[in-house]
Symmetry: C2
Subunit: 242 residues, 2 copies
């Protein structure tokens, strides 16, 4: 048990603990993907309680500098993936080009019907057939996003029979001759809840970024609607306008 942190009484204790941890991360004594000391040990080291240690950890988490994994502990966040929604079509190629290792897991493939919410986004009619695909994607072994993909079976016959643990974009191009032309992208920060939080193995309420993408082909027909739930510390978005 250490002495309590010196302080002029100015900054709250949990922020002074945060600052100490931030220094340890910047210095490099804590490197990306390494585990931090446990909450109890941190509380002890800094002469405080778990509640206060957790405030400090939550602060660093909000800044995107550390993350937690299930009940396994707190880890230093790796660098953000640069994502250019106007240019990038392939998650895997993008991850590889940044010197990291991608992985994709198919969680679910379900033929179903268009509901009211999807109808307004896809331009199809309520009750039309649609194929619902759920995937989880990883960078360097860390799950960073889950996605719901809705594929138009009229444009993509027998799509549900293919292997989805690869690039969907290549599948569409090579098997169906689809050249994606226009995209409508919408995104905003929000919390991860329910199935998304579960699939990523994070606590309900973890900060995330919600991204939707609606793609059409060269003839303007609806091809694919994509809904992505990212960990908020995993990406940085870049857009070029000319």
């Amino acid at each position: 048990m250490q002495e309590r942190l010196a302080g002029e009484g100015s900054a709250p204790l949990y922020m002074r603990v945060r600052d100490q941890l931030a220094i340890r991360i910047e210095e490099g004594s804590l490197t990306p993907n390494t585990r931090l000391p446990s909450e109890r040990i941190l509380a002890d080291e800094y002469g405080t309680t778990r509640v206060t240690a957790r405030l400090a950890l939550a602060q660093l988490e909000a800044e995107g500098r550390i993350f937690r994994s299930n009940r396994r502990g707190w880890f230093v966040s790796p660098p953000r993936l640069i994502y250019k929604p106007t240019q990038d079509y392939s998650f895997s190629e993008n991850v590889i080009s940044q010197g990291r290792i991608p992985a994709t897991e198919t969680l679910d493939v379900t033929p179903t019907e268009i509901n009211a919410w999807l109808a307004t986004r896809t331009g199809l009619a309520v009750g039309d057939p649609i194929v619902w695909l759920r995937r989880r994607r990883q960078i360097d072994g860390r799950p960073v996003l889950v996605e719901n993909i809705y594929l138009n079976p009229k444009r993509l016959p027998a799509i549900e029979t293919y292997d989805f643990n690869r690039s969907l974009w290549k599948l569409l191009r090579e098997q169906y001759g689809v050249e994606l032309q226009g995209k409508h992208i919408e995104m905003y920060p929000t919390a991860l809840v329910g199935p998304q939080a579960n699939a990523l193995g994070v606590t309900i309420g973890t900060a995330g970024l919600y991204v939707t993408r609606c793609s059409h082909d060269a003839e303007g027909g609806f091809v694919e609607f994509d809904e992505e739930f990212w960990l908020h510390d995993a990406l940085s978005i870049q857009v070029e306008v000319y």
Copy 2:
């Protein structure tokens, strides 16, 4: 003091409290910008403690459904502003076009010099003169973002003598004949800290979205570099690609 919330023991108490509050928001008994009952009253109503009530509130805050203002209380979030970085040039016009009321306050105008960080982003040299402008912008009276704007005084002589409580984009066009041509935009979710949290009157660590924009004119010369710190629940970003 009410009975404790019924529950099958499945969901944590704070999530059941969250659900009750979410229902009150959806039903309309709590409408945008109205204050929620105080933490102590909520704890009492749901037969629990302030810590648990705060967990429920923090969850709704993370989802972008409620926000807090200084020590004044918790409020229901208004709808997100739709922001199209590839099209929108004027904050004010965009806000008005969505039926809401914008306001802009100039916090600071400081002539200074390019540092290393700015040099890599602007293409100018370390030590070059630059004008640093800080503004706070509101929607319907709520501060939603603060921005650091760095203006090139070589391209914009005497820029520091103008009134900045108006559209900067119009000022550049009307006074300097600048037609902004290209933009490089980068954004990622992070926490609001330090001067930004202070200027917005929010707690350090509040979730935010960090946006930078580097603008060039038709000749490709550097004109303006902009750094924006948004409240995470205040905007939704849309990008169209053709």
